[in-house]
C-alpha cells in the first residue's frame, strides 16, 4: 500500500494529469448545489462540502444507450427490410475523485444485482470495471448522515481504490486496491509516510464524531411483518408528494426503464433511471396498478432497501446512509424514523 501526500496547490495539477488518461469526474459547485462533473482546469473541485448529487451517473448514467438499431433495405430483394443491431458500451477509463465513502460503497449495492454468477449487465460492467474511486473521508457528519447504522463509516474503504484524508496543508492519499496504486505514481505527490500519523488522528476523530447507531438487525423482519399494515404506511407516507427526489439522488436506487427513440429508419434503445415513487412505475397496460397509492410505493422503497434486498443479499442493507433522501425531501420524510418506527411497532397479529 502506498501512502502519499498531495499539497493543496498540487490538487489541480494532479487532477489535470489524471485527466490526460482518464475521464476525471469531480464534485463542483453549481449555484447552491454540489454536483459531479468532468474535471476542467479552470474550475476548482469542491472537496469540503458534501455533494448534493451522488456520483451514481459516473457508472449508471441517467440516460444510457444500450444499443442502436437500423432498418435497411435488402439490396437483392427491395421488398425486404433488414435489421441491424449494435451494442453500445463505454469502456473508457475513468476516475471519480472526491466522493464520500458512502457514495462509493453505493456501487456495491449495484454489483450484487448487476454482476452476478447468472447475469451480467454489460453496460454497467464496462464502466464499473474501468472506473476508479478516490474517496475523501467525512470529517464532520451532517445531521442527516447515518452511514454507521448500515455498516459504513465516515472513513470506510469498501468502495474506494484510493482514500484521501484532508490535513491543513493538503491531503494524505493511501491506495486501498491494487488498481488504485497507479493513480499515486505522479511526481506531484510526495512520500506521505511522515504524515500518515496525522491522517490517522483525523480519521479517528471523524469516527468519534458519529453519534451512536441503533441496532437495525431486526429491520428486515420487522419491515416485512408490516406489509399488510396499511395504517402504518399511510401514516408514514402522509406527507409525501411523490416527487421522486429521494430516488433520483439516492446512490443505491438502481431501478430503470427501457425505451426506444427513433427517427426514420434508425434509433437507439435507452436505459433511463426510473422512479418507484411514481404511480406510473407499476402501472400495467390493463390499467391495473398493484401499487396504487403513495403508501404502497413508500412501503416498497423502504421495504426494498431494508428488508427485501437484505433478505436476498446476505443481510446487506441497500441504503448507505448518505441522508440525501432526508435532506432533499421537500416535506421531510425521514427514512431513518420509518425504519425505527417499524422496529418499534408491536408485533403484527396474523394477517
Amino acid at each position: 500500500m502506498a501512502v502519499k501526500f498531495l499539497a493543496k496547490d498540487n490538487l489541480v495539477p494532479w487532477l489535470a494529469e489524471l485527466a490526460e488518461t482518464h475521464r476525471t469526474i469531480v464534485p463542483k459547485r453549481e449555484g447552491e448545489a454540489v454536483v459531479f462533473r468532468p474535471f476542467a482546469k479552470e474550475e476548482a473541485p469542491e472537496l469540503s462540502a458534501r455533494p448534493t448529487e451522488s456520483p451514481k451517473s459516473a457508472i449508471f448514467p441517467q440516460c444510457d444507450t444500450l444499443m442502436s438499431f437500423r432498418y435497411t433495405k435488402d439490396e437483392e430483394d427491395p421488398g425486404k427490410v433488414l435489421l441491424d443491431l449494435r451494442e453500445m458500451k463505454d469502456e473508457s477509463p475513468a476516475v471519480v475523485v472526491g466522493c464520500r465513502s458512502c457514495d462509493a460503497a453505493g456501487f456495491n449495492t449495484f454489483d450484487r444485482v448487476y454482476m452476478t454468477d447468472k447475469i451480467t449487465d454489460q453496460n454497467y460492467r464496462a464502466r464499473r470495471e474501468n472506473t476508479l474511486f478516490v474517496t475523501i473521508i467525512c470529517e464532520k457528519p451532517a445531521t442527516t448522515c447515518f452511514c454507521n447504522w448500515v455498516g459504513g463509516s465516515p472513513t470506510d474503504t469498501s468502495g474506494a481504490d484510493v482514500r484521501m484524508t484532508p490535513l491543513e496543508d493538503g491531503w494524505v492519499l493511501e491506495s486501498i486496491t491494487e488498481k488504485g496504486e497507479p493513480l499515486l505514481s505522479s511526481t506531484l505527490l510526495k512520500d506521505g509516510d511522515d504524515r500518515a500519523g496525522d491522517a490517522e488522528k483525523i480519521r479517528q476523530q471523524a469516527k468519534e464524531r458519529m453519534p451512536e447507531a441503533p441496532d437495525l438487525s431486526e429491520a428486515p423482519g420487522k419491515v416485512l411483518a408490516l406489509f399488510e399494515n396499511n395504517d402504518f404506511w399511510e401514516a408514514e407516507s402522509a406527507k409525501c408528494i411523490s416527487c421522486g427526489a429521494c430516488t433520483y439522488l439516492c446512490p443505491t436506487c438502481y431501478c430503470f426503464n427501457i425505451t426506444d427513440e427513433s427517427s426514420g429508419m434508425e434509433g437507439v434503445r435507452l436505459r433511463t433511471w426510473d422512479n418507484c415513487m411514481s404511480h406510473q412505475f407499476t402501472m400495467e397496460a390493463s390499467g391495473h396498478n398493484p401499487r396504487p397509492t403513495k403508501a404502497h410505493r413508500l412501503k416498497n422503497r423502504v421495504g426494498h432497501k431494508f428488508s427485501y434486498y437484505p433478505n436476498i443479499h446476505d443481510g446487506n442493507i441497500s441504503c448507505v446512509g448518505c441522508g440525501r433522501c432526508i435532506k432533499s425531501c421537500p416535506v421531510s420524510v425521514d427514512i431513518r424514523s420509518i425504519v425505527l418506527h417499524a422496529i418499534a411497532a408491536p408485533a403484527e397479529t396474523e394477517k
Binding site: 444500450l66 427490410v81 435489421l83 443491431l85 451480467t120 430503470f256 426503464n257 418507484c276 397496460a285
Partner: protein
Amino acid sequence: MLQNTQTAKDANPYLPSIGTIVEIIEETPNIKTFRVVLNSEGDMKNFTFHPGQVGQLSVFGTGESTFVINSPPTRMDYLQFSVMKAGEVTAMLHTLSVGDQIGVRAPLGNWFPYEELKGKDIVFIGGGIGMAPLRTLLLYMLDNRADYGKITLLYGARSPEDMAFKYELPDWLERDDMETTLTIDAEAPGWEHSVGLIPNVLQEMNPSSENCMAITCGPPIMIKFTLQALAKLGFKDDQILTTLEKRMKCGVGICGRCNIGTKYVCVDGPVFTYAQLKELPNEL
C-alpha cells in the same frame, strides 16, 4: 442472447436476437399469433427452453413486451407468440406482416415443473388469452403422452369469436387421449358446447383432485373464482399452478420493476403454485 453457449459474464442480457415473422394467424378480433424463426440458423438450432418460459418481443422504435412461448419445445420449426392488443407495443406488433424483422429475447423466467408432473392427472383451465401458456404445456404433454395420466382441458372465452386456437379445437375435442370442454359466457347462435362461466363449468365437470395437478391461467377475476372452485373440489394450494407474465421490463432480475416483496416475477416466476403465491406479500 441468453443462449447456453455463452457465459453469463459475456452475454448481453438486453440484446435481442433478430427473427423473421414466418406466419401470422388472426385468432380473434384482438389476438394475433406470430410464428417467428430466428435469423441465425445456429441460434435457432441451439434454442432450448421449457414449457412456460417467456420471451420479450421487440419492435424497434416502439419497445418490448413479454409473451409466453406458446409452441412447445417438441415442435421447433418456429417459436410461437400470441399477442393481445393492449398497449403500444402490442398494437405495433399487430401492424406487422410476414417477413418483418423483430427482436426476440428468450427464454426468460421459470417454467412449469413438467418433469415432476409425470404420472399425474392434469386439469388445464384456461380463460381467454390465458390459454396461450397452457397450450405450450398441453402440446408438450400430448407429444410425450405416455408420461402423463388423464388430461382434461377446460377452455373458456367470452364468445365463440373470442376463442383462440380455433384450428386446433376440433382435434382436441376429438382425441380420445384427452377430454376437452369449451365454454362461452352466454348462449350464441351455432354454439354446441358448454355455456357458463369457467368456475361454474369446472364445478359441474367435477374433476377428481386425487394425484392431479390443476394448471390455470386467465384474467384476474376468473382466476379468483377458479381458485375457489378448485378448493371446493378438494385441490390443495400446492396442487394448483398458475403463471403471471406481467409487469416485466428487463426480464432478468435487474431493473427492479417486477418484484412482489422479495420475489421477482421475471426470475422467480412467472410460474408459481397457489401455495407460493399465498406466501408472497399481497401485492398482485
